[in-house]
Symmetry: C2
Subunit: 207 residues, 2 copies
DNA sequence: TAGATTGTTAATCGATTAACAATC
DNA sequence: TAGATTGTTAATCGATTAACAATC
């Protein structure tokens, strides 16, 4: 599609996806924008508008078929693509993410782990061995990994981003609190914990 | 202040804060909106507009004094308040956050850890003992903790949110992928990893 | 058919950008 | 003074909301 879709709309879509999944598990076969609204705290109009950006998925006078809409949104978000993921930096946070069950739940397959510390290289997290970051390019290519997760210290993050770029990943999920510079064709999402905590601090301070 | 400030503006403020801190460390004494813009990828006008929401912090023809602006933004964001923080759920993610050095760096003091698993209760993370979640209310009150971090499984998150509410915290930082219901006076920030990963998936899928 | 609910066009609202006066 | 840069008012742009026609 040519039209530019706002980041906010995509975020909402990801939330619709989540609640549709739980609705599906509850056995809800047909769902209205009103009901999606109740479960997500968005207005029904906003939901219909968001969906309309990508096509007509509902039935007038009826609502949306849960299975169908879930599948359509999954396709839009690319969650049916089984992306292969590598984590670089198996410290506390990287290790926690390696154990994160929601990767698999949402169509992501953890396929490689990297560290530079000889003490951890060779050990395993759930049957997946931690490799030497020196072999990053080779392994990323061999295993056709498309997403790199950066959980190394701030000072090393740009270097790892460069390695990942060189290895040909399509996207980077960055947990280091720093602005990474990557080529335009590589998509970067920053998970900025310090920023979100600052926001909480702001809201608490106000009253 | 009475005016409602957009969430986006506060997020940018948190980023200005970060780059001002590194500018300060580099010994930059005076900084222009142009330079802040280069370091954050926002336009100079936007930066001046954001700052203008809270007052006049600069000097015409000169720029901003780094120390002064850093301090002012810190005050706005409440980062000079030394918030006391508790983490509930010391699994992989909670444990990683307990080791997260940026808490201290940004004016947050980790003051209590809770879990319900007897196997971990009593053990320590950096001199801080893990307490039984049964004692949550008592300890939160005793230690005057204002922020609770929820890193328990999804199914238990609402229960913990209720406990925290009852104990009188002012803010909740939620890592469970679920919509929590809390009273209006309690500020909630969701750290939605699955959502952000979905966004990355969307951007990769597009090309 | 009547009721319900989607999808879309038009109106409103809010945020960003442009222009520029103020002033160091 | 001339050059630089802030702070603010006005213009533009984009996103949300309201209204309603379409139709199951």
């Amino acid at each position: 599609m040519k039209q530019i879709i706002s980041k906010a709309a995509i975020e909402r879509l990801a939330l619709y996806f989540r609640i549709l999944k739980s609705a599906q598990e509850e056995g809800v076969e047909i769902i209205s924008s009103e009901e999606i609204g109740k479960r997500t705290d968005f207005t029904p109009v906003q939901i219909r508008k968001d969906l309309a950006l990508f096509g007509q998925f509902g039935m007038k006078g009826v609502g949306y078929f849960t299975n169908d809409l879930l599948n359509k949104i999954g396709n839009i978000l690319g969650l049916n693509n089984h992306w292969k993921v590598a984590i670089i930096g198996i410290g506390h946070l990287g290790g926690a993410l390696a154990n994160y069950r929601n990767f698999a739940n949402n169509g992501f397959k953890l396929t490689a782990l990297f560290d530079k510390d000889e003490k951890v290289i060779g050990s395993k997290v759930h049957d997946l061995e931690i490799s030497d970051v020196k072999d990053l390019k080779k392994i990323i290519k061999e295993r056709e990994i498309q997403i790199g997760v950066i959980t190394v210290p701030e000072a090393e993050a740009q270097g790892v981003a460069n390695l990942l770029t060189d290895a040909g990943v399509k996207g980077i999920w960055n947990f280091a609190p720093t602005k990474l510079i990557v080529p335009n064709e590589i998509h970067l999402v920053n998970e900025d914990l310090a920023m979100d905590l600052s926001m909480l601090s702001y809201y608490i301070s106000k009253n």
